[in-house]
Symmetry: C2
Subunit: 376 residues, 2 copies
Amino acid sequence: MSSTRPIRERNPATTAVVGVLGGGQLGRMLALAGHPLGVELVCVDPSADAPAAAVARHVTRDYADPEALAALASCAVVTYEFESVPVSAAEALAEKTRVSPPPEALRVAQDRLLEKQCFRALGIPTPDFAAVGSRAELEAGCEALGFPAVLKTRRLGYDGKGQRVLRSRKELDDAWTALGGVPCILERFVPFERELSLLVVRGQDGSTVHYPLVENEHEGGILRVTRAPAPGLTPSLQARAAEYGSRLCARLAYVGVLALELFEAGGELLANEMAPRVHNSGHFTIEGARTSQFENHLRAILGLPLGSPEVPEPCAMLNCVGALPDPHAVLSVPGAHLHLYGKAPRAGRKVGHITVTGEQALAERLERLRALPGVG
Amino acid sequence: MSSTRPIRERNPATTAVVGVLGGGQLGRMLALAGHPLGVELVCVDPSADAPAAAVARHVTRDYADPEALAALASCAVVTYEFESVPVSAAEALAEKTRVSPPPEALRVAQDRLLEKQCFRALGIPTPDFAAVGSRAELEAGCEALGFPAVLKTRRLGYDGKGQRVLRSRKELDDAWTALGGVPCILERFVPFERELSLLVVRGQDGSTVHYPLVENEHEGGILRVTRAPAPGLTPSLQARAAEYGSRLCARLAYVGVLALELFEAGGELLANEMAPRVHNSGHFTIEGARTSQFENHLRAILGLPLGSPEVPEPCAMLNCVGALPDPHAVLSVPGAHLHLYGKAPRAGRKVGHITVTGEQALAERLERLRALPGVG
C-alpha cells in the first residue's frame, strides 16, 4: 500500500506551485482553494502536525532554514499565512523569486509603531499614540494622552496578548514590567462602538476589490463572531474604509489580500491594525462571498484576474475555540457549514469555524450555534 | 526536507476516514469537500496519477486487490466515485464495514437492463425497451419497437460508448458485430427535447433532499454544458422528477447522492439512466447551490444532517474537454470559477470544469467561456 502523495510540479495541469511561510489553518484553506485552480502549495512550518500538511506539501523546517528557503525559492511565488515570519527570510526570498505581499508590508505590520505611523502618513485616522522606548517615555506618553490608555508591545502581539490597559499612574510600573520593558506603543483608549474589518485584494496590475466591511466580536482577546456585511453598513462608511484600504495597498505596492481592522467610534473609523494576509474575519467568504478570500489571494499573487467580493446575503462566521464542536449539532442548523482545521483542541486554540447564512433566520441560527460548546 | 504527509487517523480532530473506490476527479472533489468536515479520504485507484492523490491518501492498487480492500475495510464507511467497480468487491466490503450507496445500487446501475426494469417496476416511465441476448432477439426487438432504435450494451457503456443507433434492418448486423455480440438492451429512439438530470441525496435516516432539475447538453456523447436550474423548470416537473428519485432511493435503501438522467419529451419525463454517485451534472453545486453535492454525499454517508440543495440563482457548468483552458481567460469572465483536476489533457478527456453565475448576464458569460479552446 502506498501512502506517498507526490506533488506533481511537472504535471502539465499544474498552473503554479506557490510557496507559503506558515502551514496553519490559513495555509490549509489556501491549499484547498488552490487545488481547483491547479495551484499546489508548499508550506514551510516547523510544526510536525501543521494543519496545511493534509492538503499541501509540508516542509517541516524553521522559517529561516536554508533548505526551506531553497524549496520556496523554486516556487513561482512565495506568500505568508501568518505575519511573524522573519522579514529577513522574506527579503532573501524576494531576491530569488516573487514574494507577495511585499516584505515591506510584513515589516510594517510586524511593528505596531511603524504601522500606526504608516496609517497617519496616509491620512488614515488612528487612535492617538506615542512611542514608548523607556519607562520615562511611558510616563511622558501618559501625560500627553491621558487615561485610560493601552500599552502594547511593538512586536509579537496577537489575540490580545502583549497589551495592558492603563487606568491610572499607579498601574504603569506593573504594566511596564509585565510586558518585559520592550519597545512599546501607547495608545489612547478609544471607547469604540464596534470593531470592523475590511478585506482588500490588490492584483499584480493594481486592480483592487474590497469586500464589504464586517463586524467582529471578540472575547478574551480572541475573535468569536464576524457578521458580514456589518449590520447597518452604509455606502459612505464602506467607501471611506475602501479608500483607506486602497491608500495602504498603493503605498505598500501591495499584492494579495490585506486585512485592515478598524474601530467605529462616534461616526469615525480609526485604524487599529493591519494583517498582510488572509484573515480570520474573512473566513465567511468561503460560502458567504462570490469569491473566497483564499481564492482571491491566490488569484492576486499569481497575476490572475480578481473575483467578485460581493456578499449576496447576510451571513456570519463563528470561531470554534478550545473544543471541537459536535458536527451533528452544527450541521443540523440550516445554512451552517463546518470548517475544521485538523487541530487537537486546547484552551484558547482556534480549531475550526462555522459559517451560517440565512437572511431572516440568521439571528436565530446564530444563537442556536452559539449555544453549542466551544462555538463563538 | 520532508514530503511525507501522513493521514492522521488518530488526530482527535478527524471526524472520520472514508474509503473510496476510485480516485478520479470525483474523488478529488469529494476529498476537497471532506477536509473542512474533518473527513479524510482513502482512495483506491490503480492509476499512479489519480487526480484525488493530491488531496487524499492514495492506495495504488486494483479495486479488488486484497490489500486495498483491507485498507478500505478499516474505514468508517466506504463509497464509490465511479460505477464500474466490481460489485463483488463492494459486497465483500459490506460484510466488514458500512458501504454507501449499497452494493445493490451499484449492481442495478451497472446493467442497463436491470436499471430499466427497476425504473419500470417503480412506475417510472422509460423509453420502451427489450432485452437482447442474441442476434435473433435483436431481430425480434426491432420488430416490436420499430425504427429508429438504440442498441446498447448492458454493461460498461459511458459517455456515448457502447451504443449504436439503428435506422433500418440493414444496420443490425454491423451494430451487433460492432458491439461484440454481448448482452444488450434495445430501446426505442426517443426524439426528446432535452436531457435533464436530477440529483437526489438520501441520508441514513431516510431524509431526502432534491437539487433542482438541470439541463444537460452533450456533444460527441460527452457532457459539455449544464444549466441549473433547467431553463423554464416548473414546480410540477420538479415534483414529478423528485417523486421518481425518492422512489428509487427508497427501493434501493439508498444512502448518498444519486443522479437520475431523464429525457423530456412531449411533456413526459423518461428515465434514461442513473448513477449511484456524485455526478458531472452536479458539479455546478460547488458554487451554485447552498451545499455542494460532494459535501452532501459525505454528510449522507456519515449519518450527518443533509445541507440545503437550494440554487439561489441561475448558473451554468461547462466541461473542459481535451485541452486545458487558459486560467487567465477563464477568470477574466465575471462570475467564473475554474476547477482543474490535475489531469494531463488528451482528446476527449475531461480535465476540468468551469462554473459561472450571473442572473441576467449568464447567457453572455456562457458564450464568452464557450468561445475558449477546450471549453464546453
